[in-house]
Every structure is written in C-alpha cells, then in structure tokens.
C-alpha cells in the first residue's frame, strides 16, 4: 500500500501507524527511544533523590511545595493524556476532524500545565529566592522538573506543527504514524509526571 | 606460518619475566614487597589470583597452539570441506562449570578480605586512647599532605610518622579536589573525597620496615592536576616507644631560630607572609581551612623538599626561587613577593633549623 494514497474509512487499516514499513520502523524506533528516555529520567530522578535534602541552608522542600498547584497541574496533564487517547481513537476510526479537535484540546491542557509550571517556578524564585543556583537541591529540582517541562514544551510544538502541516490533508498512511508517535510521546510525558508529583512533590512534602 | 613459534617464544619469555620481576620492585614502593598485615593480605590475594589466571591462560594457550598447528591449511587441502559441527553440549557445560568453580575459589577470600579491611570499629570505640588505636587525620591538598594526630593535638606534613606492629587508623579527606592516599608497600589505596571522610587502617611490620630502608614511599593515586605525579610523601615507621617520644616532643616544641641569619630568616618568614599559610609549630589551633600550606614544624628533618627534591640547601633555595619550576600549578607560586638571594639564604637557614628532635 502506498503511503500517500487517498484512503476511505473502508480502506483505512486497523493499525494505520504500522501499516507501512516506514510506519512500523517509526513506531518501533520511537518505543526504543522511550526506553532510552526512561533511563535518562531515571538518572535525573536518582540525582534528585541523592540531593533532595541538600538545601545548603536554603529553603527545604517542605517549606516550598504547595499541594494545590501540583494537584491542579497533575489533573491538567492526566486529562490531556485522556484527550490524546480520544484523538487516537478518532484516528483509528478515520475521523480526521475528531482527531484534530481532541488534539487541540490536548494542546490547550498541555499549555495550561506549562503555564502553571512557569508560574510555580516564578513563585519559588520570587517568594523564596529559591533558584537553580541556591543549593544542590535547587539545581536538582529545577533540572529534573525543568527537563520534564522542556519535554512538554517540545511536545506542544511538535503536535502543533503536525496539526498545522496536515490541517488540509486528511489522514494518510504517511502521517498517521506521525500522529500516533506524537501521542505516545505525550503519554510518556505523563508517565514521567506521575513520578515527579509522587517522588518530588509528595515525598518532598512528607520529607 | 611460523606465528605459533613466535607465540611459544613469547610465552616462555613472559614466564621468565614473571620470575624475574615478581620478586622485584623496590622494597619501599612495591606492592610486591609487602611490609605489613594489610599489604600481606592483598599480596596473597594477588598471588592467588595470579595462580588461577596463569592456569586459565595456560589451558587456553595449550588448546590454542594445538589447534592452530594441527588444523592449519596444508598443500592439497584446497578442496577439503571440513565437517560442519554445530556444537557440543558436554563441552559447553565443561567450560561453563570449571570457570565458575575457579571464580568461587577466588571470590570467597576476596569477599572475606574486603570485609576484614573495612573493619574500623576500633576507631569508634568509646574512650579510645592512642594506645588502643592510633588515629591519623590525613588531609590531601593540591600537591601536599597534612597529617594530624588528634590524640596528641599535633600536625605535621609531607612526612608521615607511624608506629610499627599495630593497626594505624586513618581518617581521609581532601581539602580541594579529590586525591587518593596510597602507600604501596603498606597496603592498597583509599580515596580522599571532598565531601566525606573515608576510613581505613594500615600496618607496618617492624622487621620488614628495616629492610625497606629509611622510608616508605607514599603517593597520590588520583589525577588531581598538573603536579599530580609529584604529590609524593614519605612514611617513617618507628617503634611504638620512639613514636610516643616523638609525639611528646612535638607537643612541646616551639619553633625558634638560632644564629643571626636564621633569626633574620624568621623575621622574613613573617614579613613576607609565609606565616599566613605555613605554621611552624606542630600545635596549630587554626581551623583547617586556614591551614593552606604545609606545616613546617619539623622541616629541618624532612626527607624531601616539597615531597620530591632531595633535602639539601640547594633544593630549598631553588624551591624558594621558583616553586613553579618544580611543581607546576602549585598553590605557593605568586603568593609571596620576589625574594632577594640574601633573603633566600636567610630563609633557608631558618627553615633548616626547624627540628623537633634537637630541641
């Protein structure tokens, strides 16, 4: 089957992301990449855990963290994960508009999350003078959470670029794997966040 | 192909080398000439593992030579197609199990020794006195070593004095970057980290100390900058009595200058700012951050200048003229004004007079 071929709901395959060799490669390659990302984040988590009490006289995690912000952020990101699942649901049903709509919602939620995170950082810097150079804890905190934030930002850009590029083209076996892989990435970001809110924030609050 | 022949020659050459070199190395610096309990333990592990490895290598070499010789291509073999053997389970099991057994033989004493060498409990014993367990605090600095004897409240540098025939316990730390504390004849090394204190012990056997000569050589074993290679120290192991005597002398010692030139040197030592870094008395109450240069209390009795140069007048003068030339990157360069030759003479005279024993 040719990648650019115009498809209908009938001819659209059950697993469009893996229907071409390119798609299959992309799918697998991306999963492998996520395996590597797992180790990357594990290294950052490990570093954070080793330094989580090294506040060097600066504010401690108990003094800093505010459950409300983290809770809202978590809800936003978890929900965005569900919305991107919806998007993939529509993709599999060859419903391009549905997919675009839900991806748009995902973007909005992700954007809100990012905004909240930026606000949170701003808050720490200005209220507590807690910066990336305050202490080893500050460095470890901002680099871990910031790396996640950078992933979110990249994901937003990526999905937007995909949407803009394909807005008039409809679904094809050429772009279906791209959308699918982007949604995998988005879920992965969520997986990482689950550990961030648990290990960094919640554990930081109990001490 | 005569390759196997070169091979054979190489092997016998190596065997010979082993024989010649194993007993070799200088007794004051070689791990192959152990001079105490710790080094002995490690030496026996080294030898045990060498025996196992020689055995393994021998087995491999014998099969190897046989195969390579026996099954080499000969004239007339052009069309020969050897049988395509898939493998052999029995053989696979043999060469899995035998190595496992050999490794167990090695691993058990290794684990035992690892725990034994980490036993520093006597350091923590309540009401510890230096007679039960002598403790030395080692502080490694960019290219020099400080040795503090907390039980006696004294500090010395570059030359470590220890009693023989007992476990001497060390607290190890680094003042700037990471170094590693190593006296090969007395035992393996331990790193001096920047953020924590490491602890271990060494022993010095009186009999073998004598054979080794006046001093054991100590070295820094972790790359720490340009003069890493020159970050040597010397170890003098003396009997317990001598050691106690020395420590008592140190405690009461006050640096003083005798003779005009030396007194002039003493004055210069202060004026030129030397005293800001170097203490001249073994009792130095300043915090360690303030102790930025080696303690020079017993400088006149040192074995080396700056740990590396022969201890004589000329070397001291050379060092004072331009330390950078002898220890690139050292922290003394440019911390004091340029000295006149006459001032150098005076300082040298003063420094050479700093002796604990003669007091």
């Amino acid at each position: 089957m040719h990648a650019e071929e115009k498809l209908t709901a009938e001819t659209f395959p059950a697993a469009p992301e893996k229907a071409t060799l390119e798609g299959k490669n992309k799918f697998l390659g991306f999963w492998l990449f996520l395996g590597g990302e797992t180790v990357l984040f594990a290294s950052l988590f490990a570093t954070f855990l080793a330094l989580r009490n090294s506040n060097a006289g600066g504010p401690t995690t108990q003094e800093l963290f505010e459950p409300a912000i983290v809770f809202i952020a978590t809800m936003l990101l978890l929900t965005s994960s569900l919305t991107s699942v919806y998007a993939m649901y529509h993709m599999k049903n060859f419903n391009f508009r549905g997919m675009m709509l839900w991806l748009g919602i995902t973007l909005a939620l992700g954007g809100a999350f990012l905004g909240l995170e930026i606000y949170e950082f701003y808050h720490y810097v200005h209220e507590y003078e807690f910066t990336i150079t305050s202490s080893a804890l500050g460095s470890a905190f901002y680099v871990l959470v910031g790396t996640h934030g950078a992933h979110v930002a990249f994901g937003l850009l990526w999905i937007s670029a995909l949407m803009i590029r394909n807005r008039k083209r409809g679904l094809s076996l050429y772009n279906a794997p791209k959308f699918y892989v982007a949604s995998l990435y988005w879920h992965f970001i969520d997986v990482v966040w689950v550990f961030i809110f648990t290990i960094v924030y919640l554990m930081g609050m109990v001490g | 192909m005569k390759k196997w022949l070169t091979k054979l020659r190489l092997v016998s050459l190596f065997a010979l080398l082993t024989l010649v070199l194993a007993g070799c190395g200088k007794p004051f610096v070689s791990a192959l000439r152990p001079a105490g309990e710790v080094a002995d333990m490690q030496y026996s592990l080294i030898m045990l593992s060498i025996y196992i490895m020689v055995f393994v290598t021998a087995v491999v070499t014998v099969i190897f030579i046989y195969v390579v010789w026996k099954f080499r291509f000969r004239k007339g073999d052009e069309d020969k197609i050897p049988e395509q053997v898939e493998g052999n389970h029995k053989l696979e099991i043999i060469w899995t199990v035998i190595p496992i057994l050999l490794l167990i033989v090695l691993a058990v004493p290794v684990v035992a020794a690892t725990f034994e060498l980490a036993d520093v409990r006597p350091m923590d014993r309540e009401n510890r006195t230096p007679d039960d367990a002598l403790v030395v605090n080692v502080r490694a600095n960019l290219y020099w070593w400080e040795f503090e004897y907390p039980d006696y409240g004294i500090i010395t540098s570059q030359d470590l004095i220890v009693p023989t025939d007992e476990r001497v316990y060390f607290n190890l730390k680094a003042a700037d970057v990471k170094h590693s504390f190593w006296i090969p004849s007395a035992g393996g090394k331990m790193d001096t980290n920047t953020e924590n204190i490491n602890r271990f012990y060494l022993t010095f056997d009186s009999g073998r100390t004598e054979q080794a000569g006046d001093y054991f050589y100590g070295k820094c074993a972790e790359l720490c900058g340009p003069s890493h290679a020159l970050m040597d120290f010397k170890v003098k192991a003396v009997s317990k009595d001598e050691f106690t005597q020395w420590a008592d002398n140190m405690k009461t010692y006050e640096a003083s200058a005798e003779g005009d030139l030396a007194q002039q040197g003493e004055q210069l030592f202060e004026e030129k700012g030397c005293l800001g870094c170097h203490a001249v008395n073994p009792v130095d109450e300043r915090p360690e951050q303030a102790r930025t240069g080696p303690n020079l209390a017993s400088f006149g009795e040192r074995s080396r200048v700056a740990g590396i140069l022969p201890h004589d007048e000329e070397s001291i003068k050379n060092w004072l003229r331009d330390p950078e030339k002898y220890k690139p990157g050292n922290k003394m360069t440019n911390t004091y004004p340029k000295l006149e030759e006459q001032e150098i003479d005076a300082l040298t005279e003063y420094l050479q007079g700093l002796k604990v024993e003669s007091n």
């Binding site: 950052l44 | 091979k7 899995t96 290794v110 290679a229």
Partner: protein, 623 residues
C-alpha cells in the same frame, strides 16, 4: 531523478558524500573520520610514551601532558574505536540481514554528522585555549577546578557526538528487528549482526546516564548550579556513578562488535561453521545484561563500603564465564577445520590469547580487596590496553582487511597486511605486558613523569620501544591503503572464496540498493548453504520490481552544524557578549532544519524495474 547516471567531478562527489543517506557511503565516512582520529589518538599515545621513556623527562610539560592524556583516552574511545565499529556495522549489517537499507537512512546520516561535529568541536580545544585535562573520566572535583575551557569542550563535544551515537544505536536496533530478509530468523542471524544488536541496546541504555552527567556538569561549570559543589550540598560521587554506569557498558559496546567480527572471520578461514552458535548468542546477550550491574568496580577505592564492594566484585567476576564460553567456542570452531592464515585470520587468531590475558587481569581487578592495590596504577593501564587493543583494535584491523573488498571492491595487499600484523602484534605485547609489573611495583597511572630510583626505568623504556613498533605497523597499514587504492585490482563477488554470509552474495562493492531481489534465507550462513548445494548465489524471495530509495539530504549536516554553533555560544556566554546570541542562533539553525525536515514531505524515489534490467545487461556486456 535518475540515480543510475553517475555524477562526475570532485565537487559532485563531495556533494554526494555530504548529502548521502546510503549506509555504505556513511560507512566510508565513518571509516575515514574514525581512521583519522585513530591516528590522532595514536600520535597522542606516542607523545605519552616518549615523555615517559625516561625519568624526569621534559618532552612535554605537566599541564600539557594531562591534556594529551585526556585527549588520547577520549579520542580513542569516542572518536576512533566507536566510529570505526560503526563503519563496519554500517557497511555490513544491512547486507548481512538481506536488507536494502537501514531503517532510518536520514537519521543514519544525522548520527554520523553529529559524531563528526562533536569530535571536531572537542579537538578545536587544542587551538582555543587548551584541551580538557581531567582524564577521560573527568572526575567532578578536578573538572570543576580546571581553569581553561578544555572541560567545556569535553562536555559539549561529547554531548553532541553522544546524541549521534544514540541515534545510530536506535537505527541499528530497528533495522535488525524490522528489516531482516524472509527466512532470516533471529537464530539465523550472523554473529556480527547479533553483537551489533546487543551493542546497540547497550548504547540505548548506557548513553542517557552519560547525557545526564555531561549536562549537569555543564550546568555546574557554565550556569552556576551546584550538583558537584559540596559546599552547597552537592556531591561529586554522583558524577562517578553516572560516568561509570555509562562507562562500563561502553567497554562492552566496544568489545562485543569486535567479538562479532572474529566470529565472522574465524569460520570463514577455518572453513567450518561457528561452533556452538546458540551458546555464542546466549553469551553475547548475557554479557550485555551483566554489563549493567558491575560499574562500581571502577569505584572500589571510593569508599562505598564493603557490602557494595563485595557485591560488585562478585558480579564483575561473573562476566568471565560467558566470555570464557566464547573463547572456547572460537577455538573449537578451528578444531578440525582447515585454517588459512590470511591477514584477517592472523588478527583473529592472535586475538584469542591476547584478549584472554587482558580478560584475566580484569578478573584480578575485580577482586575488590586486591584492587585497592591495582587501582589507578599501570596495572589497570595494562589491563585495558590488553582488552582494548588486543580485542577491539585487533578486531578493527581484522575487519578492515576482511571487509575492505566489500566496501571498496579491492583487496588490501596481503604481504603488507602481514607486515603490519607482525610489527603491531610484537609492539603491542612489548608495550603493555611490562606495564602490569610497573603497576604492581608502585607506578601510578596518569603521571606526567616519574622520579628515578624507584625501579620504573627499564619497564618504561621497554614500553616505549614497543609503542614505536605499533606506530610503524600502523604506518605500513596506511601505506597499504594508499597503494591499494592506487594500484589494487578490482575483485568480484566473494573474493575470499569461502564467504558464508550475505555480504558476499552481492558484488563488491554492492550496488546502492544492495539486492536487486531480496534473498531467501534458508539457514545460518545463508550463502554457504547455497554454495554447498552447488548454486552460485542466493535464491530470490521476490520477483524483480521497482526499488524504493530514500532521497539524499543536506539537512543532517545543517542540524549538526547548528548544535556545533550553539555549543560555542553556551561555552562563551559568560565571557563574551556574543555568547547568548550565538547559542540561540545555533539552536535556531538546528530546530529550523528539523522543522524543514518535518514539513517537507520526503517520499524518496524509485529505481525502476527497467533500469535494473538495463543495468544488468550493461554489466553483462562489459564483462
């Protein structure tokens, strides 16, 4: 676009290589740059050996020595050994599995250019204020103190080339998993493919910790964070762990493909199938697996405590078992065979005892309590040169001679090859054997000089003499390469006569699409099977049809160049006003090029059936 029309002229050829996404050409790019860096690292080694030939030598100064030492280790590991391995992986693996290409041709090229610009960046340090000088391990406390920009070059250069390596690793994994020809099951894959697979998996999991380590050290040095600053709560041991969690698997990333190379060559020249294929595969996987649990054996003297030391000691020793399985299986492959001592075979045969010597000293090092004596001495230097040179470099030399025809269509001169072997082999043992004793006799490593009277004189002099022989051997090899490319005769398919795997089932060098028809694989040593049944080549698994090919692209260079520029910006931002603008300009180039890549559809092109047929006729006519 018609691809079969050869474009001529130097400019066109250069452009061809700059934009190529063909794995065979990328292999040549890796070979040339890896070879260049090998000579560079070798020159650095020669300076090291000259400086240490006699006590108190002042051939180079103390500070410069540390730079050379650091660059020798870093260059050899990251810029010579790994790229050279990638060269052979790229040249051989896709063909060995019967594929037309790798899974991601574009990323393949990107991986190469990232490595190239990373290596270039690192080596520019020589001209821009001094090279890194904290050893290839760059331990945190020293690295943070180092005043010049050298360490920054190390951090950013390795970061860039590290990303390239990661990409290459993923590419090989997907290629091997997804692109195998019909019939090529996992248990029929040649061992070089298997070891590539496992080594790539190790890359996938080992490089991220390095990435993190490099990144946070860069933050510490350039942006004021305190990960390793103990006065602010930081901890330098974190770096040591991150580095070795990467570093130990790294040494298996190097050696496993070398094992693969020997497992290809030995059966060919012993004319016998690999003995114990399945246990060889098993051992490879096991080594890869265990490789992740032993890193702290580099940190026995750090003070991790006896429990950790004991665990890591025993885990490390365990690796001897699968490695031993391999050693014995190679020897039994030759058992009963008919061994032809060609140059590649000489290297392979010599590897067995040489590597064993290095391996057993590894087990000695693994004995924690005894390692307190060995650590950071020349005993360690001897160990790792025995395994690296006696294993990896021998493997690379063997591969170069063995696969030269597959890459260039010409055979390297056998006589010169043997001269190289004798010189290098002798020099190698002369250089490094004696270093075991130097270490045991109390000589620390990483010293720019040693003082007389400690018993180190003879050993060092001998060692230096050996290094000269190695250099001579390398020079003969270079001469061989030049002579061959000028005068060498073209060879056809299967030039060694006893090829067993698919890379010998295509012409030398292969056409850009590798296989006109995808071959049908009927067992291990696919080509051998067909030959034994009296056939000339492989049975095709499909009719002749259009072949889909990827488009060449200049974007990989642009993406990599952007990071190269950005790295300068990051490095100089504190001292120069142009720092930040440069950083953002660089990133803009990179992301811009990535955007272009994702927006511009790239469907590749097709080589048509008719053209394939015509080409066949032409060839037939010429013959």
């Amino acid at each position: 676009m018609s691809t079969l029309t050869q474009r001529r002229g130097f400019g066109a050829a250069l452009w061809d290589y700059l934009t190529t996404v063909d794995h065979k050409k990328i292999a040549i790019l890796y070979l040339i740059s890896g070879g260049f860096f090998f000579v560079l690292g070798g020159l650095e080694a020669m300076i090291i050996r000259i400086q240490l030939a006699i006590p108190n030598n002042n051939f180079v100064s103390a500070g410069l020595y540390n730079e050379i030492l650091t660059m020798h280790g870093t260059t050899m590991i990251f810029l010579a050994a790994m790229p050279l391995i990638f060269a052979f992986m790229n040249a051989v693996v896709p063909i060995q599995i019967g594929a037309r290409d790798v899974a991601f041709p574009f990323l393949n090229s990107l991986g190469f250019w990232l490595f190239f610009f990373g290596g270039l960046f690192l080596n520019l340090s020589w001209f821009l204020g001094g090279a890194p000088d904290a050893g290839w391990t760059s331990y945190a406390s020293l690295a943070l103190e180092s005043p010049s920009n050298g360490i920054d070059f190390y951090l950013l250069g390795l970061q860039i080339s590290g990303i390239g390596t990661l990409i290459a690793g993923i590419n090989f994994l997907v290629t091997i998993i997804n692109m195998r020809a019909p019939g090529m099951t996992y248990m029929r894959m040649p061992l070089f493919t298997w070891t590539t697979f496992v080594a790539s998996a190790l890359i996938l999991f080992a490089f991220p910790p390095l990435t993190v380590g490099l990144a946070i050290m860069m933050f510490d040095r350039l942006f004021g964070t305190h990960f390793f600053d103990h006065t602010m709560g930081g901890n330098t041991i974190i770096w040591e762990h991150l580095f070795w969690i990467f570093g130990h698997p790294e040494v298996y990333i190097l050696i496993l493909p070398a094992f693969g190379i020997f497992s290809e060559i030995i059966p060919v020249f012993a004319k016998k199938r690999l003995f114990g294929y399945s246990s060889m595969v098993f051992a490879t996987v096991l080594i890869g697996f265990l490789g992740f649990m032993v890193w702290a054996h580099h940190m026995f003297t750090v003070g991790l405590g006896p429990i950790a030391n004991a665990i890591f000691a025993v885990a490390t020793m365990a690796i001897a078992v699968p490695t031993g399985i391999k050693i014995f299986n190679w020897m039994f492959t030759m058992w009963g065979g008919s061994i032809r001592f060609t140059t590649p075979m000489l290297w392979s045969v010599a590897f067995i005892p040489s590597f064993t010597l290095g391996g057993v000293t590894g087990v000695m090092l693994a004995s924690a309590a005894a390692d307190y004596q060995y650590h950071d001495t020349y005993f360690v230097v001897a160990h790792f040169h025995y395994v690296i040179v006696g294993g990896v470099v021998f493997g690379l030399f063997a591969a170069a001679h063995y696969w030269w025809p597959a890459m260039f269509g010409k055979m390297l001169n056998e006589f010169l090859g043997k001269v190289t072997f004798v010189l290098f082999f002798t020099g190698f043992h002369l250089t490094f054997f004696i270093q075991h004793f130097l270490g045991l006799m109390g000589m620390p490593r990483r010293v720019f000089t040693f003082l007389p009277g400690q018993g180190f004189e003879i050993g060092n002099a001998v060692s230096t003499a050996g290094a000269v022989l190695m250099a001579l051997g390398t020079i003969v090899l270079l001469y061989n390469v030049v002579i061959t490319s000028i005068k060498g005769e073209k060879v056809g398919m299967d030039p060694w006569g006893d090829g067993r795997t698919l890379e010998w089932a295509v012409s030398s060098p292969p056409p850009e699409y590798n296989f006109k028809q995808t071959p049908l694989v009927r067992g291990l040593d696919a080509l051998w099977i067909e030959k034994m049944e009296g056939k000339k080549g492989m049975t095709p698994a499909e009719p002749v049809g259009d072949i889909h090919m990827p488009n060449p692209s200049i974007l990989p260079i642009i993406i990599s160049f952007g990071l190269f520029v950005a790295a300068f910006g990051a490095m100089y931002h504190a001292d120069h006003a142009f720092g930040y603008p440069l950083l953002f300009a660089g990133l803009a180039i990179t992301f811009g090029a990535m955007l272009v890549r994702s927006i511009k559809d790239d469907h590749g092109f097709h080589i048509h059936k008719e053209d394939l047929m015509n080409e066949e006729d032409e060839k037939g006519g010429r013959k």
